[in-house]
């Protein structure tokens, strides 16, 4: 299968590097590979929420490990995106407890409203909608995740206002 090589602007700011070094310092000397997952989260957050192959290779360089050690991790864990995603990715939990509370209907509503299919990005690059597995908010169903935060007890009205808030830039994705 041919792999599309998506291009990405790479920018390791001094703040990002400082944070990466802080994370590496949490593990003993020589065990810096352990910092891989937390570092990937930070790097992804700072790069439009996805990780190109170049970016992953750069992370390997920083941690002094082989690029393949990064690739095998990013392809295993669902939170690392291998290609560009919408600026605002609405991740609906579709596992049982949410599903019996109409999570699937909520997700369909969001898809219709944004005119996308699950997994697709809107043509303006602003939104994508995906179904994900249990996020641990079963008692507050239906729910979705947007960036670092959960939005629970969803209704169609709540989805409307959430999308509106995204459009006017009122949503903060990451808690830094």
């Amino acid at each position: 299968m041919e792999k599309t090589n998506y291009k990405q602007d790479i920018n390791f700011t001094p703040e990002l590097m400082a944070r990466i070094n802080e994370l590496i310092s949490h593990y003993p000397e020589g065990k810096q590979k352990s910092a891989l997952l937390p570092v990937l989260h930070e790097v992804q957050d700072a790069h439009d929420n996805w990780l190109s192959l170049e970016l992953q290779t750069k992370v390997a360089e920083i941690l002094n490990i082989k690029p393949i050690e990064v690739f095998e991790v990013t392809t295993f864990y669902t939170m690392f995106n291998q290609k560009p995603i919408g600026k605002y990715m609405l991740e609906f939990c579709v596992t049982s407890c949410c599903a019996i509370n109409k999570a699937e209907n909520m997700m369909e509503y969001a898809c219709e409203k944004l005119n996308v299919k699950p997994g697709q990005v809107t043509s303006d690059g602003m939104f994508s909608v995906v179904g994900v597995q249990c996020l641990g908010a079963c008692g507050y169903a239906p729910m979705l995740q947007l960036g670092d935060f959960y939005h629970e007890h969803l209704t169609k009205e709540k989805i409307d206002s959430l999308i509106e808030d995204c459009r006017v830039g009122k949503i903060i994705l990451h808690d830094k």
Binding site: K31, A35, V73, G136, C138
Partner: protein
């Protein structure tokens, strides 16, 4: 039965912060523990009868006593906060609202194990809780509860929080350790057990959040006092995450031994069924444990009251019982479609299988496909036996318990709700084009099965 030891302070305003937590008696157990003999703490935990709260229910004190202290290698305590079992969200509640309780428990437990470097492994999706814990840990460092020579006792402890990347399998302790080492979450073959060779091949204990959060109370009040709470071998209090068709979903702490009926119907807890619809099924311990049909929920097969204990929920084995598991209490009313729900769980396990063992990697996918065709009116009558055959070949044939966890819900659904599967297969036109989970109660159409149309 209303005794609380984990959530007793949860309603104090500002309990999230170090100052308020400390002013309300926080970290007192650390002061006490650091003057104790570490092995004496392990003995107290053994006496308490505290059982692992992550799902397996293995005695915590016993697990601690297995840690290899002879080799002289550095030891580690790792807190399992990967909470990903569908139906479970209690650890998140604890960490989000009273993070210092977990940190206090981590210090005391690390001291008991002789660990000088410990980690809290939290699932990546709980990113805001990760940040909450990071801040709380900074506060604890600033107040001198972490770092070098804690409170002048000569004990050093570094504690950090580590985030995962979205993989259910990392809740399995050896997969969690692999993930903490920066690798794919593939479970390891045991033995060697983590207590001998765990994180970076060092002796390691992995405990659930709730287990560790119970330790400060045990240290302060003694293991014997703890063992008096609860019933029989189910000592102490337990957090239940309630979801599904009840009036008041949420996290509740109960003293073990309460009847399931009281827990379900009392206004203090679940508050009864939403819209007062009939109860159809209950999963008492997270998606992996068998579903109980209506007639086995409040009473066991022997006609005894079903209680909220490890023993009573498991009474009757998997034939007529279930398991307390992680305390993910999922309630279904008569509108829930068991076939769709089982498919939903199979999809989950297929998605989350790490792919190391073929019975699980392939079997979960086959179950998902077969269930999907039954759910969509394309099933064949032999599919039910096929499903049974697949699940029985996954169970017990994999490195880690994910395979069993995938097999049990399918087996239980067929065992208790076989007629619903038959209905889907024999009356495909009635189930096609339904709006997802919305359907007519099965009780209303069950009579159709009695007429022999084949």
């Amino acid at each position: 039965m209303g005794r609380k030891i984990l959530l007793d302070k949860i309603n104090i305003p500002g309990i999230k912060t170090y100052e308020v937590y400390r002013r309300n008696g926080g970290y007192a157990s650390v002061e006490k523990a650091l003057k104790m003999d570490p092995d004496a703490i392990t003995e107290e935990v053994k006496t308490s009868g505290l059982r692992g709260r992550g799902g397996a229910g293995f005695p915590v004190g016993l697990k601690w006593s297995f840690i290899d202290k002879k080799s002289g290698n550095p030891r580690h305590l790792v807190c399992n906060a990967d909470e990903s079992e569908p139906g479970t969200f209690k650890d998140r509640y604890l960490m989000e609202y009273i993070p210092h309780l977990l940190i206090e428990g981590m210090i005391v437990s690390s001291f008991a194990l002789g660990a000088n470097l410990s980690y809290i492994y939290i699932r990546g999706e709980y990113m805001w809780v990760f940040k909450t814990l990071e801040r709380a840990i900074k506060e604890a460092y600033a107040a001198g509860w972490l770092g070098k020579n804690i409170k002048g006792t000569g004990y050093d402890l570094d504690l950090h929080v580590h985030c995962g990347g979205g993989a259910y399998i990392c809740g399995e302790e050896t997969a969690l350790i692999e993930s903490l080492e920066g690798k794919r979450g593939n479970p390891r073959i045991k033995p060697p057990f983590p207590a001998v060779k765990g994180l970076w091949q060092n002796p390691t204990v992995v405990n659930n959040v709730e287990s560790i959060a119970s330790v400060p109370w045990i240290v302060l009040n003694s293991g014997e006092e703890y063992s008096k709470i609860g019933l029989g071998r189910s000592t102490g209090t337990k957090l239940f995450s309630v979801s599904g068709h009840v009036k008041k979903p949420g996290v509740y702490e109960i003293e073990m031994g309460m009847t399931v009926e009281e827990f379900m119907n009392s206004d203090e807890y679940c508050g009864g069924m939403i819209d007062d619809r009939p109860l159809k099924g209950l999963i008492p311990g997270g998606s992996s444990v068998p579903i109980l049909p209506q007639h086995l929920i409040f009473k066991t097969a022997n006609g005894e009251d079903r209680l909220m204990t490890y023993e009573s929920l498991a009474d009757g084995g998997f034939a007529t019982g279930s398991s307390l598991g992680s305390g993910g209490f999922i309630v279904y009313n008569d509108t829930a479609c068991i076939v769709r729900n089982t498919w939903n769980f199979s999809r989950f396990y297929h998605h989350e299988s790490c792919g190391q063992c073929s019975p699980c990697r392939e079997g979960t996918g086959w179950m998902e496909k077969v269930l999907w065709r039954i759910e969509n009116g394309e099933g064949r009558i032999e599919d039910i036996d096929l499903l049974w055959d697949i699940q029985s070949k996954i169970e017990g044939n994999t490195i880690c318990p994910l395979g069993d966890a995938a097999a049990w819900p399918v087996a239980a659904a067929i065992r208790h709700f076989r007629d619903e599967f038959e209905y889907h297969i024999r009356f495909p036109e009635r189930i096609k084009n339904r709006d997802h989970f919305t359907n007519e109660p099965f009780e209303k159409v069950k009579h159709l099965l009695q007429k022999q149309s084949i």
